[in-house]
Symmetry: C2
Amino acid sequence: MLRHALLGILNYHPMNGYEIKQFMDQSTSHFWYAKLSQIYTTLKALEQDGLLVSEVQPQEDRPDRRVYTITAAGQTALRAWLAEPLTQIDQTKEPLLLKLFFSAQLDKEAILAQLHIQRALYQRLLETHRSQTAALIKEAVEHQPHLKRDALLWESTRRLGELSTELYVRWLDETIAQIQEHF
Amino acid sequence: MLRHALLGILNYHPMNGYEIKQFMDQSTSHFWYAKLSQIYTTLKALEQDGLLVSEVQPQEDRPDRRVYTITAAGQTALRAWLAEPLTQIDQTKEPLLLKLFFSAQLDKEAILAQLHIQRALYQRLLETHRSQTAALIKEAVEHQPHLKRDALLWESTRRLGELSTELYVRWLDETIAQIQEHF
DNA sequence: ATATTATATATAAAAGTTTATGTATAAATC
DNA sequence: GATTTATACATAAACTTTTATATATAATAT
């Protein structure tokens, strides 16, 4: 799946691995993320398959940059993946819920402490979605007006991130209250 | 992580791999799932580490069942994992959002078609959360009153499943409308 | 009649992902 | 002055997960 993400990103413009990592951290990380090591090896694999080509840009003082460009074959592969409809629901994995599910083993205070930590984290994430992520999309369209349709879709993914983080905070409050009263 | 899930499940009572799969499909699948093949190999690994022991129960007409029981070391490991607080947000991966993010490549009708498919799927899942999953928890407590505290936590995970599926459907409607108007 | 689903386990191979390690320098922070 | 963060790549090892294959029978659905 990361393969497709990388093709999608490089379809905007050529980039090196480090830049791709930053792009993902800022835009897709709430629904797709990857470690740098995985990005580098996947880029290499995509080049071997002819979906990307790379060229080294020498730099002084810093390691040279290897910049990847999508090929015609890469664009075809990207479009094929986009066109193929998802006919099943994405099954996700959430360690917090898994742990909570079995937490009757713990005492009340330990459970509550963990939920409070999570609440703080999600509250902070919510603010990021609302300010930073929103600003980045707005800025991108201002500089590149041809990305207007892309931005509409980016905004909808950001919106779900905001809504579900909001929901998570509400659910944590609800759950904390439930446990405080009935556990 | 599956290791901990299996310890958590077997801490209720001894089970064989096939039963564990069914248990997960019915209860944890919206936040943790696994294929049978992975369950079998992980059970074996846990036994090698001394966290489980197994015994074969012969059956006629069907393959024998290998029933796993958690050991004292397994219970210690389970509790250690439960006690260790999560200090970061779970990063999840959602193929639908990844695809949507790059879908400006597609035409309007193709995007809308994909979103409508997802809406139908999530609508059906919502009903499952509300009826089946809720009923299973209720039934479990009726038969085993000592699981009351567990059930409170199970119910909170079910509740998040219901709430976020509901949200997903609403977001899909919102997104479909946005695209219809502005894409 | 035929195909699928359910019961039950097992293993190999492939694919995907994370963790650890190594190199090198500049800038920023403490 | 010392440590951390940022820039930039690369690779090996470990771990996790999926896909495919094999076996065997009963019950159910088409």
